[in-house]
């Protein structure tokens, strides 16, 4: 079988180009408008109706809603998910470096006296602001990616179970830190006792992470990873990423990964970042208060 005349393909237009000349189908009957997409191997535009790429012969899987449901995890990820992963890893690396540099600048310069609560709060607020900016930039860069559909479990089951699971994770968190203290590790005081800046501490430690950390780990990162990894592996990788992002408290990373697992499953089964954001806020509030 001879591949079709290339000139036909060249004049058939690009994907969804209304000005393109329609392709004549094999029977020579009335022209049929077709949608084209790039071949996964040679990247040349190929009709969605073609069983094989006429240029490199790669067998083409038909794009259809039925296929999307049958594909691993039912993913609707765009073909070039490699770019998404590159952007995601770059975002993670940039946020880590930004945190280290901010910490370096603030601790080693004369700008901030960390014994002064107000200055410490401002410094942490600045770090939060830089992190929020990075998260928003990468959320915009990855906006076209879509997550896998959530499993078919009733929300009236998901929400209560998630709250119970978070309660257990919180208990594990407290138990773990008590064990560290009993081993002689010094406890880090997040908020000074009797602080007059309580509302600002709540915003810095509870509200900002609940919004921006969830937007990154269970929002943008989730969308990129879920298509390639499926549900459970995405939860594991996102929780590892979440834990590792807390480089300021490295001994807490293992238990934070457990918290990340709870948040990840909450995201998976609820289908949005609202539930994990609420859980994250409540978790951080409990840690601050106790």
């Amino acid at each position: 079988m001879q591949p079709p005349d290339e000139s036909e393909w060249e004049t058939s237009g690009t994907v969804d180009d209304p000005a393109a000349e329609p392709v004549v189908d094999a029977s020579g009957e009335e022209p049929v408008e077709t949608v084209h997409s790039p071949c996964r191997r040679c990247r040349r535009l190929v009709s969605e109706l073609a069983a094989n790429c006429p240029y490199c012969g790669l067998r083409r899987v038909q794009s259809s809603p039925e296929f999307a449901e049958q594909a691993p995890g039912g993913c609707t990820t765009p073909p070039d998910s490699g770019r998404g992963w590159s952007v995601l890893i770059a975002g993670f690396a940039v946020s880590l470096v930004a945190f280290i540099l901010c910490d370096l600048i603030l601790t080693n310069s004369a700008l901030v006296d960390f014994d002064d609560e107000r200055q410490k709060l401002i410094a942490m607020g600045c770090i939060d602001g830089v992190y929020a900016f990075i998260v928003v930039v990468f959320a915009i860069a990855l906006r076209r990616y879509q997550s896998i559909p959530r499993p078919d479990v009733a929300q009236w089951i998901v929400w209560p179970v998630s709250f119970v699971a978070m309660g257990l994770a919180l208990a594990a968190n407290f138990g773990y830190h008590q064990a560290l203290i009993s081993m002689g590790v010094r406890e880090l005081e997040l908020v000074p006792a009797g602080s007059e800046y309580w509302p600002w501490w709540i915003v810095t430690i509870c509200v900002q992470p609940a919004i921006f950390e969830e937007l990154f780990f269970r929002g943008s990162a989730w969308k990129v990873m879920s298509g390639a990894l499926g549900l459970h592996a995405t939860v594991i990788v996102s929780s590892a990423m979440f834990g590792m992002a807390h480089i300021g408290v490295p001994l807490s990373i293992p238990v934070l990964m457990v918290v990340g697992l709870v948040l990840g499953y909450a995201r998976a089964y609820s289908g949005s970042i609202l539930l994990p954001a609420i859980l994250h806020f409540l978790h951080n509030l409990a840690v601050v208060l106790w």
């Binding site: 079988m1 001879q2 996964r40 191997r41 490199c56 012969g57 790669l58 067998r59 899987v61 594909a71 691993p72 998910s81 490699g82 992963w85 590159s86 890893i89 993670f92 690396a93 880590l96 470096v97 945190f99 280290i100 910490d103 370096l104 560290l180 081993m183 002689g184 590790v185 010094r186 990873m225 390639a228 990894l229 592996a233 594991i236 990788v237 590892a240 990423m241 834990g243 590792m244 992002a245 480089i247 300021g248 490295p250 001994l251 990373i253 293992p254």
Partner: protein, 170 residues
């Protein structure tokens, strides 16, 4: 066309073979990183007391002895030694994780390479948070490891896709 398709199928196999080689590089890199991490942290854990003493001596250099609260100092030193030892144990566990991920890379390519990359970047960041000089120390080797893992991740995504397509086709 059948001759062409044989050649073209061969091209597909060549591509998979190239990706498989990149996964093998990632496997070697992750196992090597794991072994080095365990070794370095075992050394750090065993010598924790000496390292802490040296660090405190550097910080207290030039401060008159009568201005130092020795009881508080002893408490801080003990806490620091415990922290260093616990960190060494935690990082050694991370080293074990790297080795396991390296061994399992062909079973779950995307999962293992992505986890390996995230844990490596995170480990580097934690080192740098404690000692900013670590951001640039050994940067060439770190860049090579990261490049190998990034390439392996991209190869793993394509490898997994081709496997899924081949499985559906058969």
């Amino acid at each position: 066309m059948s001759d062409d398709s044989d050649g073209l199928d061969g091209l597909g196999s060549l591509a998979q073979s190239a990706r498989s080689k990149q996964l093998r590089s990632a496997k070697i890199a992750m196992i090597a990183v794991g072994i080095l991490t365990i070794g370095a942290n075992a050394f750090m854990g065993l010598g924790a007391k000496a390292f802490v003493e040296a660090a405190f001596a550097r910080e207290l250099k030039g401060i008159p002895a009568d201005q130092i609260d020795n009881a508080k100092l002893a408490e801080l030193k003990e806490s620091a030694v415990k922290t260093v030892q616990l960190s060494a144990v935690a990082f050694s566990a991370l080293g074990v994780v790297f080795i396991v991920l390296g061994l399992l890379v062909y079973r779950a390519p995307v999962l293992c390479t992505s986890l390996g990359l995230i844990l490596y970047l995170g480990g580097w960041a934690i080192d740098a948070a404690f000692d900013p000089a670590m951001l640039l120390k050994g940067i060439l080797i770190k860049a090579i490891v990261i490049a190998a893992l990034v390439k392996a991740l991209k190869a793993a995504i394509e490898y997994q896709k081709e496997h899924a397509t081949a499985a559906e086709a058969s």
